[in-house]
Symmetry: C2
Subunit: 225 residues, 2 copies
Amino acid sequence: METPPIASIGALVGEPARALMLDALMDGRALTASELADRAGITRQTASAHLARLTDGGLLSLERQGRHRYFRLGGEEVAAVLESLMLLGERRSSAALARPRSPERCARSCYDHLAGRLGVALLDSLDGQGHIETCGTRLLLSPSGEKLFAQLDIDWRSLQHRRRSFARLCLDWSERRHHLAGALGAALLAHFLENRWLVRSGETRALMPTDRGRRGFGEYFEISV
Amino acid sequence: METPPIASIGALVGEPARALMLDALMDGRALTASELADRAGITRQTASAHLARLTDGGLLSLERQGRHRYFRLGGEEVAAVLESLMLLGERRSSAALARPRSPERCARSCYDHLAGRLGVALLDSLDGQGHIETCGTRLLLSPSGEKLFAQLDIDWRSLQHRRRSFARLCLDWSERRHHLAGALGAALLAHFLENRWLVRSGETRALMPTDRGRRGFGEYFEISV
DNA sequence: ACGATAATTCGATGGAGAACGAATCGTGGA
DNA sequence: TCCACGATTCGTTCTCCATCGAATTATCGT
């Protein structure tokens, strides 16, 4: 009896130390092998073996830079799997649901886009103001949406016609609602970070709004943070 | 260092015998403990232990019927996780991609709705003929869609306002495109099976179109199977 | 009431792999 | 050139758990 593909991937995610490393990478940043070892609470040798298996299994991608090795998630599909696993994990352990005021539930990065209450509110805002339309099964910008993104100085045109999906919905594991993912979602989060509407909070995935961000979200999206 | 929730779920899926059992349940049907043991190629005692862990972990739900124990997938979220795992698994092992003519790629059941080329074509048809609309982030039936479902004798009204999402998109792991899921997708597949447009093919997930089905898909959806 | 079948529990065995210490490789800086 | 530091490889130990045989419980049919 041969082992099905889902088992090999499940086994990779199923080891606590590896799961901690994957969790640490869920914010989309790249971390070195040593950093990941510390996050998982194991020695560097052990982490090295784990990272080799994860990379070999396609869950991580590796970038060498000098004597450092930077690891990041292998792609959108990997992030999607981890998101759905978190969604399923939350359903049972009501522990995290019991603290709905945690910074991570307010706003966090999910791979390369925005999640949490702010992420959901953002999609609601784009949707409610008619900035996004659906052409068949695809999400597109409406004329008013195109105008909004031009005001934000986001070059949405360059995001189209790429292999990656322009815009898609991602189910938020903490809010149980959709937020915006895909190239457009990634561009938005990048914009928020570049312009310091949001700043990363230490080593967690949490994102804290700045005063400038509060003004921006109110002005452009009618969201009061 | 505590084990994160995703690790416990990953470990459940990561065992080959358990993965085979989950895979066997992906068609949405309920199977007995003995049937699952045979599918996984293990003894009943071992299967019993595995099934207890899967049920305890929320991946399976259990229904007692006399001296039989019927197991089925724990819910839509579980099916979603397994689907995304398959999607990720296919990306690496090009083995299955090399045989695009397999019956399972033509048409199969994905939890409780239709997947494969036929599932994708069905969504394309509904979409292309304007039978479905998107109200914000939700999928809804258009007036013409309501009419079509009435012709098919599917009581779509009773599917609304339930806890389960009325209609949603599910990413097809073999076609890399969306097909229709949610309550509406489940009702459609149920209709196809009840009216024998499609019949199950042995113990696999594959679905074979009948002559009546070929006529029906052509007449109502303009799909030539 | 009594066998027959489904399923579970218990106990023992074995193997896979996670962990770490020590040594080695590779790159960058002085 | 030599040292410092990040990362890997090797060998060993040890824990976890999948597996099965045997016995037990539960339910159906007669």
